[in-house]
Point group: C2
Chain length 230, copies 2
DNA sequence: TTTGAATAAAGAAAAAAATCTATAATTAAA
DNA sequence: TTTAATTATAGATTTTTTTCTTTATTCAAA
């Protein structure tokens, strides 16, 4: 194969990769597990440990050790045989990979119970981003503060988004207004919406929507309980 | 094959099925989708529609129509070609399958923001179970009421669990006490724990633990946003 | 220094899940 | 009554994810 043929093959492979971007995406199950590793490792690090092996992590987190190795490999951190991983390095790499050490700013719309929970959640535990402003239409809530974040009148969203360049929004409104609010958010430049409502949002294809329904987990729990009693 | 040979084959198959119970378990991805179907169908039913086809559901929920058919088939409901499913029948079957129409009673421990959110959640939206009592150690919270449920002194858990036969518990305590509380709950007869803490609970194998970390979703969202901007 | 045990890493195999395809049933329109 | 279009259903295929296997590396002990 000469240099031209090679470059053709190369070009082909590149466009293939670009076409189905999914190929180089980290699998969702892995992404979901990564924070669990991070929080476990942080706990171990606080105990003064310096290294940890995949079998030990696997035992603690009740999962397959080779799964652990595969998952952690996305960070690029190399472990040493007979020793394991450097905990400090691994924590840092995980935080970096997950983006938990960057300031990912987010809006929150709907400061009801769940909204307030997420606002206070960010104080204690790393959620992955900082809610810089919450919005609501309820006069009683407006002006209040939860978890260090102010609740503002919803209409202020439009002014504020002009000045700030916020890409992430958390949607915890009632179902009925979810679609309208989501469209407002997209118009304000939001690129990713974490949707806690039961509304199936109809938005442009380039907008990332992460649907999170508490019912989904409840369904799995109830079913496994049913399975167990049979 | 005579009758005896047949019965041997039959016995073998039965024990196989019992051995790896997983085989007849409904896949977790399907279980997670079922509440989404239910809430969508309820919305459509309210509009007065009587039937709906899998392709229509698939278009609305942005998923493959054959996926819809496979998922809905777990309820046993049959659709008619060229017509689709009877919405009323399907809603009922889904509620029944998911156990959402039964009274699944649950305890909640840790009436902080997230706990309170779940308590108020059950009012508006079907969570799948009814939180009949919440427990906390915070004097300010004890005696209060959220979403129609009273917050009781934690120590009352032990008396109450003797009288009531509650199988499900929601764990929304701080991480530090999660393991201890979980063990208490198991001693009180709880069989399934919905764990919102970041603690990896170490409990008997027969106890069902559903770990739900907000960070897991956040991680996926952040990553997809990163993927999109590359 | 040598040997052996532990473990990461890479790749193969298996399992699980999603998607595609073909078939048969049904109904509305011709 | 017949035909064509729609759609559920079942099964095959593909893709994704997990688990298993092998290999090579490293460190501790002999």
């Amino acid at each position: 194969m000469n240099i031209i043929e090679r470059s053709i093959v190369f070009t082909f492979k590149m466009s293939e990769a670009r076409k189905n971007k999914k190929s180089d995406q980290v699998p969702e199950p892995t992404l979901r597990r990564l924070p669990t590793y991070l929080f476990y490792l942080e706990k171990i690090r606080e105990k003064g440990e310096l290294t940890i092996s995949a079998p030990v992590i696997g035992k603690a987190l009740k999962c397959d050790p080779t799964q652990v190795v595969k998952d952690l490999s996305v960070t690029g951190v190399k472990g040493k045989p007979r020793v394991g991983y450097n905990i400090y390095e691994l924590c840092h790499a995980l935080e970096d990979f997950l983006g938990f050490n960057r300031v990912n700013e987010a809006f929150l719309v709907g400061a009801g119970n769940l909204g307030a929970a997420l606002m206070s959640y960010q104080e204690r535990q790393t959620l992955g981003f900082k809610i810089i402003a919450a919005f609501d239409v309820d006069k009683d809530k407006i002006g209040q503060q939860v978890g260090g974040t102010h609740i503002l009148e919803y209409s202020k969203l439009f002014n504020l988004s002009n000045r700030l360049n916020v890409k992430i929004a958390i949607l915890t409104t009632p179902n009925e207004v979810a679609q309208d609010v989501a469209e407002d958010l997209v118009n304000c430049g939001v690129k990713a919406i974490w949707n806690f409502t039961l509304t199936n949002l109809d938005l442009p294809a380039n907008i990332i929507v992460q649907n999170t329904s508490m019912s989904a987990y409840a369904a799995v729990l109830l079913q496994r309980l049913k399975d167990a009693s049979e």
